[in-house]
């Protein structure tokens, strides 16, 4: 009898039993993975399907992802058409979990659909159309909203943990407030008429709006295709006429074009910007990713 009692206690205290007690969250965004971990604390078990080394625009779930989603109680997606597969994913797995399309809970900025992402024919929009910009996390105010949305959803799943989630969310929101303050102070080092970002990926509209920047996204600079000489001339003209000090290509696949632009304009090539979510190493957290981007921009444009 004693052996049975000990076995029962051991079973209840075992990691697997405790894990089963946790809220199972499947996340398809590196930013939302961090939010879920920070807000849920030890009351959640978060599976990040999209990892920092993956391009969320290109991500396709594997069978192992389907299995995890099938068991999840909460599925987090960035939304704003970033993950075209998730609706079908939920149908395919038959999960009873809540699909939370976080980005759809706040207003969108529009961007031109010419930045090289493969949205696929199911998107229903043509190259050059105005589409919703899915990169909402580059606005810290939006990320603050996302924290509240995740907090409220976790509290619905486990009302007993409502206070814990509220306290965790408040602590994380405090860190975001401090980050916002740091960003404003750093950006204030740049004259407002020099806040011009030439990027190869039109992903920084939310950042630009929040911090007084104008974006000039260059189509073709990061694709494998050579942009036309007319396009290159246009880029050079923009950089010269706007007095842009640096350009920020995310992946330099056209070094000749880049060399020509920098030779003609004397614009510097800025450090890599993290456009599609968290990076690795120091940029592996939301704060680290944001600081890395701001440091790269300020140091290049100063």
């Amino acid at each position: 009898m004693k052996i049975f009692a000990f076995s029962l206690v051991a079973l209840l205290l075992s990691p697997s039993a405790q894990a089963a007690d946790k809220i199972r969250v499947s996340s398809f965004s590196t930013v939302l993975t961090e939010i879920a971990q920070q807000v849920g604390g030890d009351r959640v078990e978060v599976t990040g399907h999209v990892r920092p080394d993956m391009d969320p625009h290109e991500f396709e779930p594997k069978p192992s992802d389907l299995k995890t989603v099938g068991d999840a109680q909460l599925i987090l997606v960035s939304a704003k058409h970033l993950e075209g597969y998730v609706g079908k994913l939920k149908q395919a797995t038959g999960t009873k979990g809540t699909l939370l399309e976080v980005g759809d809970k706040f207003p969108s900025l529009k961007m031109k659909d010419d930045h090289g992402h493969d949205h696929g024919p199911k998107d229903g929009h043509k190259h050059g159309d105005l589409v919703e910009d899915p990169h909402w996390w580059h606005s810290i105010a939006n990320t603050q909203k996302a924290v509240k949305i995740v907090r409220d959803e976790l509290a619905k799943i486990s009302p007993a943990d409502q206070k814990t989630f509220a306290a965790n969310a408040a602590a994380y929101a405090g860190k975001l407030d401090a980050l916002q303050k740091w960003v404003k102070t750093e950006i204030a080092k740049l004259p407002r008429d020099q806040r011009k970002l030439v990027t190869s990926h039109d992903a920084f509209q939310y950042f630009a709006k929040e911090n007084g920047f104008t974006i000039y996204a260059i189509e073709g600079l990061s694709s494998a295709d050579q942009p036309s000489s007319k396009k290159v001339a246009e880029i050079i003209a923009i950089i010269k006429s706007q007095g842009v000090k640096a350009i920020f290509p995310e992946s330099i696949q056209n070094p000749k074009v880049l060399k020509e632009i920098t030779r003609e304009t004397a614009a510097k090539v800025g450090r890599e910007l993290y456009a599609d979510g968290l990076g690795e190493g120091a940029a592996g957290t939301y704060e680290g990713m944001y600081k890395s981007n701001v440091n790269a921009i300020v140091s290049a444009l100063k």
């Binding site: 204030a188 080092k189 407002r192 006429s241 007095g243 920098t262």
Partner: protein
């Protein structure tokens, strides 16, 4: 044509070199000295008016613009004003206001009133305790 093959080869080399040099000049990519990036003229510095009003006299304050101290006072008063000269682009300016409030004092506020080069006045407020540092954007 007669003559030593060596001389003929030398003559041929000279002819090729004479033709080749201008051709190489025309076709080679030169590492040109880059032209200045900006054709945009720098924003001219103009006089602006700053007026500060504190609900509680602070221990110290400093107003910074583009990493330079624009105005600081060792013995602040409840109301002060000063004219400063800075570039004031159409898109406006960011001023960093840092205030050291008296220890143990209640929540206090500072009103910053800026009169731009066109003569228009803009106001922003800062609230805080202890040390307050905020970026204020004008207009």
């Amino acid at each position: 044509m007669r003559g030593s093959p060596l001389i003929r080869a030398l003559l041929a080399f000279i002819v090729i070199a004479m033709l080749g040099w201008p051709l190489w000049r025309l076709t080679s990519s030169t590492e040109a000295v880059a032209t200045p990036v900006s054709s945009v003229p720098a924003t001219e510095a103009k006089a602006i008016g700053l007026q500060l009003t504190f609900t509680a006299v602070p221990k110290s304050f400093v107003i910074r613009h583009l990493e330079k101290d624009l105005w600081s006072e060792p013995t602040p008063q409840a109301e002060m004003e000063r004219e400063v000269t800075i570039p004031f682009p159409e898109k406006g300016v960011d001023l960093i206001v840092k205030i050291e409030w008296p220890e143990g004092a209640a929540l206090a506020a500072a009103r910053v009133r800026l009169t731009d080069p066109a003569g228009d006045t803009h106001e922003k407020s800062v609230w805080g305790q202890g040390t307050t540092e905020e970026v204020l954007t004008f207009p």
